[in-house]
């Protein structure tokens, strides 16, 4: 409530401006590769913001969020393929190349899938919750691998990036700005949710579920809604990711992807508003910088992750902005 701007707000603003400035400068300098790199950061960050609702606010370590990331991706790929081939989808519905429609479908599909997965998984806690979410995601992964209609193991290409009204999505910079805009909007929603009544109950469910139940709020329902919201955001990111690469494959659904999302959050700072963005920046930069030197870059990423977990629990944001404070 103080009038003084917190250190975290300053760090967050700087991170947001940095992510915006670099691709604009790169685009002006005729280096579209860096724009694509920044788009990758924004989209991965968005996926991790989704997971951060469940994991950061709710303490629900979902090891199955790749399922939603991949489903969002396939929503984009399948709708675009049907539109491209002018083949109707089921019930004679047409495909579409309109991003707003695709996003809506991705969000709805992920919400509908997350509801039963959450309702079953949330009856367990701790390591069982981790394992059961992993199991659901792997079921969807193997389904995608073995279903030939949409490319099976080979994946599915999106020949032309889908369209957004008023934005030339085929160009790297406008597409980056679109993704950046979505990321900022979702960060705003995350911030609002974190400070709302629902967010209060959700964070209480993480800190002490017995306390929450003792004041008369059942933790299960709060967690289930959080899990579904979380899946929806990650699904939206999946749709953007598919359009970024103009390609979707089962690898988006694999457990590596689930792990990567968790890594992003740990690197950046669990439960922090800008933790996923900081984590995605670090991750993609490592991938780019170390990946240029050695194919074994993930070994070094592992060392860095070890360092963060042992010595800097708050992640990058913990280092830059100090310990998290709740009101």
């Amino acid at each position: 409530m103080s009038a003084v701007v917190s250190r975290e707000a300053v760090v967050n603003t700087l991170l947001a401006l940095l992510l915006l400035a670099v691709p604009i400068a790169a685009s002006a300098a005729g280096e579209p590769f860096y724009v694509t790199l920044a788009t990758r950061i924004a989209v991965l960050a968005l996926a991790a913001v989704g997971l951060n609702i469940a994991l950061g606010l709710g303490g629900l370590v979902s090891f199955g969020h790749a399922a939603f990331f991949g489903l969002g991706g396939y929503a984009a790929g399948i709708l675009a393929t049907h539109a491209f081939n002018a083949e109707p989808l089921f019930f004679g519905l047409p495909g579409t190349t309109s991003m707003p429609v695709i996003w809506l479908v991705a969000i709805l599909v992920c919400g509908l899938v997350a509801l039963p997965i959450g309702a079953i998984s949330l009856r367990t806690t701790g390591v069982y919750f981790i394992m059961i979410t992993l199991a659901f995601a792997q079921m969807i992964y193997y389904f995608a691998v073995s279903w030939p209609a949409y490319g099976g193991e080979d994946g599915l290409s999106i020949y032309v990036r889908n369209a957004f009204p008023g934005v030339n999505t085929a160009q790297p910079l406008p597409y980056f700005l679109l993704c950046y805009g979505v990321l900022m909007l979702v960060l705003l929603l995350f911030w609002l949710i974190g400070g709302s009544r629902f967010g209060t109950a959700l964070q209480a469910a993480r800190q002490n579920p017995v306390r929450l139940a003792a004041v008369g709020i059942a933790p299960f329902r709060i967690r289930l809604v959080a899990f579904v919201l979380s899946a929806m955001v990650t699904g939206l990111a999946g749709a953007l990711f598919a359009d970024l690469n103009r390609f979707v494959s089962p690898s988006m659904l694999s457990w590596h992807m689930s792990g990567e999302l968790i890594v992003l959050i740990i690197l950046g700072g669990k439960g922090r508003l800008f933790g996923p963005l900081a984590g995605a920046m670090l991750y993609v930069l490592f991938e780019y910088a170390l990946g240029g030197i050695t194919e074994r870059w993930q070994f070094f990423l592992g060392l860095i992750l070890l360092g963060v977990v042992l010595f800097a629990r708050g992640g990058l944001l913990g280092l830059l902005a100090g310990k998290a404070r709740h009101g």
């Binding site: 400070g195 709302s196 209060t200 800190q207 017995v210």
Partner: protein, 249 residues
């Protein structure tokens, strides 16, 4: 005679061969403080857990405000008006004292499915919460995270949360535990006034507090209630003296 607020009939709970609750019947009448005492291992905590809904009984009934509580979980019972404090402080450690109480106010108001309006600056939450902290004498520490409060302050915060729920009955599990003599004395005085708001089922080891506060005392030994009566009746009951109070009485 008035209807009991809380009515327990022939409650039984075994863990293997151990009969932790062995046919307990107990009433909590409007306006009274009913103390439950007994040596360690008598089954007090097991009984409290069954009333609050964290352990299901094997048999027997618990009625609260005339309603059978079977099948209701802890949250549902709390919502009906059973305000509970814990033997070991159970708080949201990262939240400030104020936000801990605000959570209870929010629960009492109903919906927690409001996603956008910030709770900070929501006077309908902060106002009543601060009033509760003032009542227990913790207003000065409102913005301190619960994890940084002293042991005694956490006990006070537990009471403030229970108060904020506006319960129809209090279930207080050793509220004096670990408090110094000064703290116990002021809390005793506070609880004395609280009975006008709602009856209290008080589990407590501090005999000074129990004798000062209780309208009735029930003595639990090996899962059975061996005596129920006024303070004087319990003090002079030979079986109670033998089983529990021993040379201390």
């Amino acid at each position: 005679m008035a209807e009991p607020v809380l009515e327990i009939r022939d409650l039984r709970k075994s863990f293997g061969a151990l009969k932790a609750t062995d046919g307990v019947s107990l009433d909590l009448m409007p306006g009274e403080i009913h103390a439950l005492i007994g040596p360690n291992g008598a089954g007090k905590s097991t009984l409290i857990h069954q009333i609050s809904g964290s352990i299901p009984p094997d048999s027997g009934t618990i009625r609260f405000l005339g309603r059978d509580m079977a099948g209701l979980d802890m949250a549902a019972r709390a919502k009906l008006g059973l305000g509970r404090s814990f033997q070991i402080s159970s708080l949201a450690p990262e939240f400030s004292a104020l936000r801990n109480v605000m959570l209870a106010v929010q629960a009492r108001q109903g919906s927690s499915f409001r996603f956008f309006r910030p709770v900070k600056g929501d006077r309908s939450l902060a106002g009543p919460a601060l009033a509760m902290l003032e009542r227990v004498g913790l207003a000065a520490r409102a913005n301190t995270p619960a994890a940084e409060l002293s042991h005694g302050e956490r006990r006070q915060l537990e009471i403030a949360i229970a108060l904020a729920l506006g319960p129809k009955a209090f279930l207080l599990d050793e509220p004096m535990a670990g408090m110094g003599p000064e703290g116990s004395k002021s809390l005793t005085k506070f609880l004395d006034g609280l009975r006008r708001q709602a009856p209290i089922l008080l589990v407590e080891h501090d005999m000074d507090a129990v004798f000062a506060l209780a309208d009735r005392i029930s003595v639990l030994v090996y899962g059975r209630i061996v005596a129920t009566g006024t303070v004087d009746e319990i003090r002079n009951d030979p079986e109670v003296r033998r089983a529990y109070l021993g040379e201390a009485a």
